[in-house]
Symmetry: C2
Subunit: 314 residues, 2 copies
């Protein structure tokens, strides 16, 4: 089977050149080289078999399309975008992820869609990078968390998106996490909040971050006491999306802590047909894998590191 001598090898290369590089038809090549088209086909098979032809999907700017497509195929995603930055700096990665996701949103969201946005640093990065948006309605999906180095509320995010789209926006001012269930209940009962959260049921596209239940990998995790962190971990919580917790299988959990959050309820979240997760870092592999398994998210915008981690196993 090994094309023995150099003459044979060069013939194979000649055929491969003509077919792949100059893409001529096999019949044409056969006529030119004075061999049968079957022989041409067999030489081409041989060429591929012995690895003589190398085909690769080239990166486009910062997008690794090849890995994107693999990710999309492997997990049956609606959309997958993998950003490959040489830079490992978290802020840079977040920004590039935001740009990529923004382009995706610009492309995918139509006037008929209702866009849902929870509070999240990654979601903020996406909306910041947005340049235009179809005139879709924009809905706030959660309250906000004030972070020392981060000065945008959930409202800002929604407002900016709505301003770009020219569509209607539905906002409310509320904290994401409260001290106790009663307070949260009270906040949720306020008309703007109740109304806003009710609109979550009409959302058709949501952009979310994914938190993994580990220090530094979920803003909510880091806001809770060590006891609470451990309690949820014991319940099997592996991650959260917009304050909705889930376990290793992606099954939604409802720990008591959930009562203290002002955010979309789990049924509404699960009812959104297209949830786009914007996530980076191999550390979040488990949470993302679970969210995918449970069908909580349909699309991914990630960095190369996380994408490779997801593809490596299973």
């Amino acid at each position: 089977m090994a094309g023995q001598g150099p003459a044979e090898l060069v013939l194979i290369a000649a055929v491969a050149r003509r077919h792949y590089l100059q893409d001529r038809s096999k019949v044409e090549i056969a006529e030119e080289l004075g061999i049968s088209r079957f022989k041409v086909a067999r030489l081409l098979d041989a060429a591929r078999e012995m690895g003589l032809v190398r085909i690769e999907i080239v990166r486009q700017g910062t997008l690794d399309l090849d890995v994107s497509a693999q990710l999309q195929e492997r997990f049956g995603l609606t959309h997958a975008v993998v950003v490959d930055t040489p830079d490992r700096d978290a802020t840079t990665v977040r920004q590039q992820l935001g740009e990529a996701a923004a382009h995706l949103v610009e492309e995918v969201v139509t006037a008929d869609d209702v866009l849902g946005l929870p509070w999240s640093r990654n979601v903020y990065a996406v909306v910041s990078a947005l340049n235009r948006l179809a005139p879709a309605e924009v809905v706030q999906l959660s309250g906000a968390i004030a972070l020392p180095d981060f000065d945008s509320s959930a409202v800002d995010i929604v407002r900016r998106a709505a301003r770009l789209s020219g569509g209607r926006s539905h906002v409310f001012y509320a904290p994401f996490v409260l001290d106790d269930a009663a307070s949260a209940d009270a906040v949720r009962r306020q008309p703007p909040v109740a109304e806003g959260l009710a609109r979550a049921r009409s959302v058709t596209v949501a952009i979310v971050g994914v938190g993994q239940w580990a220090p530094g990998e979920s803003t909510i995790h880091d806001l809770l006491s060590a006891a609470e962190q451990a309690e949820l971990a014991e319940l099997g919580v592996i991650g959260e999306v917009a304050g909705v917790f889930f376990d290793r299988d992606g099954k939604v959990c409802r720990p008591s802590v959930a009562d203290r959050l002002v955010t979309v309820d789990e049924d509404a979240l699960c009812g959104i047909p297209e949830v786009v997760a914007v996530v980076s870092g191999a550390a979040k592999e488990e949470a993302v894998r679970a969210a995918l398994r449970g069908g909580l998210v349909q699309s991914l915008v990630t960095d190369a590191e996380l994408a490779r981690a997801l593809l490596a196993r299973s």
Copy 2:
């Protein structure tokens, strides 16, 4: 025409992956992705147009098959083999060239062929690297030159080849270059020499070196006096093959110096259907180009340097 958003790009990549990497049919891909086969075809066109798919012919060991095939095509050669060595050392290159050419000869020469071998360092390298050979007849095409650092006669070359083939050999002992035409004539009239050279007319495959008419690029050139070197250069001689001189167009010249050589005559050389030149070094570009132009050689075994030089212009 530019596939705008990332979703489109990833779709194109997904299609390209499936088609080129997993080679599935377009119909199949269309069904899987829920688009028409025409769209698949158009996406693939787009992918190639925007350079998203990269195809290359990979090197096989020391052989650069891609360049080989290009050379073969460009100059209409019967065979072309390009050896790409990282090493630039002349001896190493000669040896590797010899091995490649030897493999070619092993593959190409059949029992029906008559193999013609002139004296030449490169031809010696080829025969040294030969391991087996079809039982072809072997014919000596020229006398020999004694070189200080090179201890093989034309006879040795022929004998070794004949021993490997098991076929008949036709040898004669004679110098390649004599002091004057009369001496050369006398040598040529000796029965073994006359008989041997007459057999050149029946040769079907010859392996030759190519000399360029410049210092250090042709053993014959370097053996002559400065006056003779200049005389031939003025006659337009650009190179020689087995002691047959030719000009820039590859047209055979017959300067008076030719009368002093004991070698195949030009008609016999031109009558050989398959002359394989084993040459290396960009310095010989002109001579090789001329030899090709004049149809003196039909096949080439070269190093990457010379091959690239030949392909670069014209």
